[in-house]
């Protein structure tokens, strides 16, 4: 089985982001960037499938500028065999990302595609679902458990009501929840080894797809700040405030 993992480079989840002063977007220059957290779960799952002998080749793909090489190197340090960077100077919307991935998938012919359920920058939560529809492959979103046996795929999905269990088959597109697994840290020897693993670069303009933006960002602003609150001294004061000042109990 061949597994393809899609990886996005995003502002690190620990960074307190800043809105640009001209309200054109969020500052991403000179900010720590990392692998999108649920994409790390997708990488980890692919590496586990290889360790279990279920996958024989695991590859990662990212779309972005040259700097996105660093998240691909991270994925290879975690155990991915080789990577593909689709070079694009522009930020792509989920539909264009899915179309780009489809072209890579048509060429690489993986049996399973894994990715995070959502990127923590634009919070769209769309790409996996769109890709599954474009490929006409089964879709499994927000998965927290995966078992593959004789081409059968058993997944548990995190839904608002609890857990949903589905059975499907390969090939499939699965989007990963943070609870699917615990991503490993790349060891120093593996980081060194990853530098020698193959990283192919493809220019997005050679793929012949429409990647233009369909959505125009008019402005990005800071959310309204909450008014500073007060500290109460004890439980009695808290309950009195909630009853007679806030009037919520």
């Amino acid at each position: 089985m061949k597994v393809l993992v899609a990886v996005k480079r995003v502002v690190d989840y620990k960074v307190q982001i800043r809105v640009k002063s001209d309200n054109s977007g969020v500052e991403t220059q000179n900010v720590k960037m990392s692998v999108n957290p649920p994409d790390e779960n997708a990488i980890e799952e692919a590496v586990k499938l290889k360790e279990q002998g279920l996958a024989n080749e695991i590859i990662s793909v990212s779309i972005g500028d040259d700097k996105s090489q660093d998240v691909l190197r991270t994925s290879m340090a975690m155990g991915i065999d080789r990577s593909i960077l689709v070079k694009s100077q522009n930020t792509l919307e989920p539909l264009a990302v899915a179309k780009t991935l489809k072209i890579i998938i048509d060429k690489e012919k993986p049996d399973l595609v894994l990715m995070g359920k959502q990127a923590i920058d634009d919070d769209s939560n769309q790409t996996g679902q769109i890709l599954s529809a474009l490929l006409n492959w089964p879709q499994g979103c927000f998965i927290s458990n995966l078992k593959i046996e004789n081409n059968k795929v058993f997944i548990s999905r995190e839904i608002d009501e609890g857990i949903e269990n589905l059975e499907t088959s390969l090939p499939a597109v699965l989007t990963c929840d943070l609870r699917l697994n615990t991503p490993r840290f790349a060891s120093l020897p593996n980081i060194m080894k990853a530098k020698k693993k193959p990283l192919e670069t493809i220019d997005i303009d050679t793929l012949g797809i429409d990647t233009s933006s369909k959505i125009k960002t008019l402005k990005v602003i800071e959310p309204p700040k909450r008014k500073a609150g007060i500290m109460v001294n004890d439980v009695k004061e808290l309950v009195q405030k909630l009853k007679y000042e806030a009037k919520v109990i």
């Binding site: 989840y13 307190q16 982001i17 969020v26 649920p38 919307e93 989920p94 539909l95 359920k117 923590i120 920058d121 634009d122 919070d123 769209s124 939560n125 769309q126 679902q129 769109i130 599954s132 529809a133 089964p138 979103c141 927000f142 927290s144 058993f154 995190e158 839904i159 608002d160 009501e161 609890g162 857990i163 949903e164 269990n165 589905l166 059975e167 499907t168 088959s169 943070l178 369909k214 125009k216 008019l218 402005k219 990005v220 602003i221 800071e222 959310p223 909450r226 609150g229 007060i230 500290m231 109460v232 004890d234 439980v235 808290l238 309950v239 909630l242 009853k243 806030a246 919520v248 109990i249």
Partner: protein, 317 residues
């Protein structure tokens, strides 16, 4: 032009998120159609036609739609799309799972999780876990959007008399079969919709201690929530998680107990009207957004609060 709202339901009742989404649709058109895809939904169709804002209820009733597999429902929706300027679904795991597939079939870019509508083509949505707010505009032939339920009021469920139209089921070859659903049953209010939410974090230390929180929740007729740390540690099920990748809540009163206040948790609850934080760590970031902070050991504070609430009730009765 008309607006289509895709209903979230359990084949018996509409989820309240559907009522919030209908209110969002009202900002776009007076001609709102509600699409219900499900199995044995005659009664649901009957009760839905009385929603005042809805002009037409469109029903597709088929046994294969029982478990709402998106591979089956998305072609039925895209097939109706040419009649509409906008298609809306709640930004719940139901809508997130379904609507992007429809966008792929229609070849349009969806706008996720809108919290405001400026005009027919301009919408407001949070990015970076709500730490920035983006105003976006589109001129696509049709606008697909998921709607954050807590950002729009629930619409009235009575007073209307909508027409009901049955459409035929379009079958698709689907390789996915439903196995089971593990749903926790509770008499407490629904988390996304409760007037009061009591949430616990890692400070609760184990699942047994969450009983303390349940007692407090029951005193306040509140829903119970949790931080990601508490869910990851196995104290409580994933359906209780409040935050960027869990549920968004905006109750009148949110009580955060033993929650430090990670960015991704704040994203899910900072729209609450009144926030109370109880934490023994004075440095916890949750205090920065709390209206009332209490720096105290939660294992002492919670029983005391329950006692105080009992006292208040005695005085009133």
């Amino acid at each position: 032009m008309s607006v289509l709202v895709v209903a979230e339901h359990d084949n018996k009742n509409l989820k309240s998120s559907t009522l919030n989404t209908i209110s969002a649709a009202e900002k776009l058109s007076e001609d709102i159609h509600l699409l219900i895809l499900g199995n044995k939904i005659e009664d649901l169709a009957k009760s839905s036609k009385s929603i005042q804002l809805v002009k037409k209820v469109i029903i597709c009733d088929h046994e294969k739609l029982e478990n709402q597999i998106p591979e089956l429902s998305s072609p039925i929706i895209s097939n109706l799309a040419e009649n509409y300027s906008h298609i809306l679904a709640p930004s719940s795991t139901f809508g997130k799972n379904l609507l992007p597939r429809v966008s792929a079939l229609l070849d349009v870019t969806q706008i996720s999780d809108i919290i405001g509508i400026e005009s027919q083509d301009t919408f407001i949505r949070p990015i970076y876990a709500g730490n920035a707010i983006s105003y976006v505009q589109t001129d696509q032939k049709i606008n697909l959007m998921t709607v954050r339920p807590t950002s729009f009021e629930k619409c009235e469920e009575t007073g209307g008399d909508a027409a009901v139209e049955n459409i035929s089921f379009i079958d698709s070859e689907v390789k996915t079969t439903f196995v089971s659903r593990e749903v926790s049953k509770s008499d407490r209010p629904e988390l996304g919709n409760a007037r009061v939410v009591v949430s616990g974090g890692r400070g609760l230390e184990n699942s047994d201690n969450f009983k303390l929180l349940y007692d407090l929740a029951d005193k306040l007729n509140a829903a119970v929530g949790a931080s990601r740390a508490a869910v990851d540690s196995g104290y409580i099920g994933n359906e209780y998680q409040v935050g960027q990748t869990g549920k968004m809540v905006a109750p009148e009163l949110y009580i955060a107990v033993g929650i430090s206040g990670a960015i991704q948790h704040l994203a899910g609850m900072k729209e609450s009207k009144v926030i109370v934080a109880i934490n023994k760590d004075l440095e916890a970031p949750i205090f920065n957004i709390a209206d009332y902070g209490l720096s105290s050991d939660l294992f002492q504070a919670i029983p005391e609060i329950i006692k105080e609430l009992d006292l208040l009730n005695q005085i009133e009765s």
